[in-house]
């Protein structure tokens, strides 16, 4: 096991400054703190708010970077891919169909071992012009070697962006990482955020060192020559090995983050809320955590022991750990803010993954899937209570576990 790269704890690091900023602004501030070298942009809501804040930081002289507004999302992701290969720390991002337009660039980034950090402002995949949150955009790259993490507050967005650089640029990993921020609820909502000092970030985040993979005249190499069936399986296996090393590096990064910044996220992979004595739990990602927590507090007052597990890291997926946790309960409800039409049990993506994770587990409680909050529709407190009722019925064995659409006009 390699030692963590961060420097030892400092005596007295400058205090945090509280700012009223959106989730998007928090990501832009993280770019500034991480002293990113190349940022490319192409507008699409809700991601475009990040561009605006980055542009402001650049024009105010607070961030010294190459800021390139490309002619499309595809070019945008290609430019940072190449910049990263020559040793630049890069940032990029998009939303919904914009992210899909960049798909060719997104698919080749992991195999080239480019530690790009991207922000996905989660948005419906249209049509026509829907811009509310759905998670299908970011989830589309789930099989390709991208690390994927979901956050639920502006503070977590800022902190996770710093952690993402630390993990992605670790020589053991060199894989891209996308941070998913729910459109509107996170990207457009201003909250009070503790912005850490540059000193702390310096102590946490080492310089991006591409080492032997640096594309530079002093290090003559060719990146991505033509390959065929003689090569591709080995390339995939290498990328898989890097992804397999990711959980340990993520753990190290969170531990160091806590040590230097004094903020703890507990288990990096998923967050548990009131699960200790819970009979049933809900599982979900992103900002729907907010109404879920409020509904759980209400239901607990009525004597219902309900808990919540918020999945942060979807890739790598903490299957064993999550299966062990969920095995403690009588039934599990998985809330998907996405869909996977024609999938097993007509579920969303997360529910399908959770079922797969549970299969080898010794305790396999019934799992009910919920499709909810698509296109930015509000996930209400009553909707959460309705879902919990279904989970209780599944625990009693009175219903067939399957998938339910919640908050639909029917």
């Amino acid at each position: 096991m390699t030692e963590a790269l961060a420097t030892p704890p400092q005596k007295q690091l400058a205090a945090d400054k509280t700012s009223l900023i959106t989730g998007s602004e928090a990501i832009a501030v993280a770019c500034k703190l991480a002293d990113v070298d190349v940022i490319t942009a192409y507008p699409i809501r809700p991601y475009d708010t990040v561009m605006q804040y980055v542009a402001k930081l650049v024009s105010n002289g607070e961030l010294d970077c190459e800021y390139i507004v490309a002619e499309s999302e595809h070019s945008q992701f290609e430019i940072v891919k190449h910049a990263s290969a020559v040793g630049a720390r890069v940032f990029c991002g998009s939303s919904g169909v914009g992210w899909m337009y960049a798909f060719e660039a997104l698919t080749v980034t992991p195999a080239l071992r480019i530690p790009m950090v991207a922000m996905v402002g989660n948005r419906a995949l249209d049509d026509p012009g829907a811009f509310g949150v759905e998670h299908n955009d970011a989830l589309a790259v789930r099989d390709l070697g991208w690390q994927l993490v979901w956050v639920d507050s502006a503070q977590e967005a800022l902190d996770t962006a710093l952690i993402a650089y630390r993990v992605a640029e670790d020589r053991r990993i060199f894989l891209p990482c996308a941070i998913s921020c729910d459109g509107a609820f996170l990207t457009h909502s201003q909250a009070l955020v503790k912005v850490p000092s540059q000193e702390k970030v310096k102590a946490f985040l080492p310089r991006y060192d591409r080492g032997d993979l640096l594309l530079h005249p002093d290090n003559p190499i060719t990146v991505a020559p033509q390959v065929n069936e003689d090569w591709l399986m080995e390339i995939r296996r290498q990328t898989a090995a890097a992804m397999d090393r990711s959980p340990a590096v993520i753990r190290e990064a969170y531990a160091d983050f806590e040590r230097i910044f004094g903020r703890s996220y507990g288990n990096p992979f998923f967050e548990e809320y009131q699960t200790e004595d819970a009979d049933v739990v809900l599982v979900g990602m992103g900002t729907l955590s907010n109404p879920v927590r409020v509904a759980i507090r209400q239901m607990r007052q009525e004597g219902k022991k309900v808990g919540f597990v918020r999945v942060r890291w979807f890739r790598p997926f903490a299957a064993e750990e999550l299966a062990a946790t969920l095995g403690r309960f009588k039934a599990v409800g998985v809330i998907d803010r996405d869909f996977s039409l024609g999938s097993p049990y007509r579920s969303g993506v997360l529910a399908t993954e959770v079922r797969a994770a549970m299969y080898p587990a010794p305790n396999r409680p019934p799992i009910v899937g919920f499709i909810c909050g698509l296109g930015g529709r509000e996930v209400t407190v009553p909707a959460v209570r309705e879902m919990t009722e279904s989970v209780y019925l599944a625990a009693e064995g009175t219903t067939q576990p399957g998938t339910k659409w919640i908050g639909l006009r029917e």
Binding site: A184, H188, Q190, R409
Partner: protein, 390 residues
């Protein structure tokens, strides 16, 4: 459980976006100054905004974090302590493109809550513009011209801080004058703005609006279909073809009135409306051709009648009309209904002449956005005089 505060700022898209955001940010920062956490956000469905379309920003504040989460668990608050209206013509109701149907301006205002309006009008006029509400509420007027600027420019005429000062008076539990002045100094570094907030605080008064007061009309609503009732493939029926119009005097049929979208009318976007002098109209067709919203009904006698259910008040017709004073834009506060001007003219031409003259005396004091360099320098001193002298 602690106390939850919610404030909405209803504004005109683009023109007042920065104004609304400055107010909602300052609310959260002033409350934070007193140890209360909060969040500030624009309603996402309103955006991308278009010129003048009604939009909203919200500030949610609580006495503690757990209570704040209760407020954040909703996409937008179901009721608010204060509704801030930064343009008085919004009092007629708002139709955003984030929803279907027209909402009364006071719809979210809590029983006993306060409507704060920037206006030169008196309380009687503003109350009659707003729809009736089942429970009494308060009205506070911040005297002044509604502040319009652009997306990339800001007219710093102290509208923001005068509203904030008024808030400190009507809801001191949210934040004190001292706290908001601190925030103003930190955000703008302008002592004069802190003084404007103080003056607004000192002058603020409210009147109670009773359930018997206000516009008795029921605003139009729209019921959305179930998923099983919708046509597949995101197909919707087209707007039907139009029809001829009837002359109120002769009963003669002729001209052409297009059918219009019954579920999205857009007229609450209007801050000024065209009035037409039919006696001087030369029937050149330019208004009818150039109107971006196909607002002009062609009458049986070949005139052009601006339909007020469809007009956004952009002013293009006034700009293209080749006859001087034939089409004139008038402040929307001067009208109580959307009735046809042509019909009024047909029924009583002399009466219409007098009506026209009286309306034209009320040209709008606002302008849509930023027109020329130096424009704000001309407008701001008048507002600062009002801020100073009341």
């Amino acid at each position: 459980m602690g106390r939850l505060f919610a404030v909405e700022i209803v504004y005109r898209g683009i023109f007042q976006k920065n104004l609304a955001r400055n107010i909602s940010r300052a609310i959260v920062l002033a409350a934070h100054h007193e140890g209360k956490p909060g969040i500030s956000f624009g309603r996402y469905g309103d955006s991308p905004e278009r010129n003048g379309i009604p939009a909203k920003s919200f500030a949610i504040v609580a006495t503690d974090d757990v209570t704040l989460e209760e407020g954040m668990a909703k996409y937008e608050p179901k009721e608010v302590d204060i509704t801030i209206v930064v343009d008085d013509t919004l009092c007629k109701g708002v139709e955003s493109w984030a929803w279907y149907g027209l909402q009364p301006i006071n719809r979210l205002t809590k029983p006993g809550g306060t409507l704060i309006v920037t206006s030169h009008e008196n309380s009687e006029t503003l109350i009659s513009m707003a729809h009736r509400k089942e429970t009494p509420y308060q009205l506070a007027i911040v005297k002044g011209t509604p502040s319009f600027s652009g997306l990339w420019v800001y007219k710093d005429d102290h509208s923001d801080v005068r509203i904030l000062g008024t808030m400190a008076k009507v809801l001191p539990e949210l934040f004190s004058l001292a706290s908001v002045q601190q925030v103003i100094r930190a955000e703008w570094n302008d002592e004069l703005k802190a003084t404007s907030a103080l003056r607004a605080y000192e002058r603020a008064t409210t009147v109670t609006v009773q359930p018997t007061q206000g516009n008795p009309e029921k605003p139009f609503e729209f019921q959305m279909p179930k998923w099983t009732e919708m046509r597949e493939g995101i197909a919707i029926p087209a707007i039907p073809r139009g029809h001829q119009m009837k002359d109120p005097n002769t009963g003669e049929m002729g001209g052409y009135q297009p059918e219009r979208n019954p579920t999205f009318k857009k007229f609450t976007t209007r801050t000024m409306r065209p009035v037409v002098d039919f006696d001087t109209c030369i029937k050149c067709t330019l208004c009818w051709l150039q109107c971006p919203d196909s607002v002009f009904d062609v009458t049986p006698d070949g005139l052009y009648d601006a339909n007020m259910e469809a007009c956004c008040g952009c002013g293009v017709c006034e700009a293209v009309c080749p006859v001087s004073n034939c089409i004139t834009m008038v402040n929307e506060t001067q009208f109580a209904d959307n009735d046809s001007q042509w019909r009024m003219w047909k029924e009583d031409k002399e009466g219409y002449k007098g009506w026209l003259k009286e309306k034209i005396a009320n040209r709008p004091e606002r302008s849509h956005g930023f027109r020329f360099r130096g424009q704000y320098a001309e407008q701001v001193p008048d507002m600062l005089k009002i801020a100073r002298e009341g």
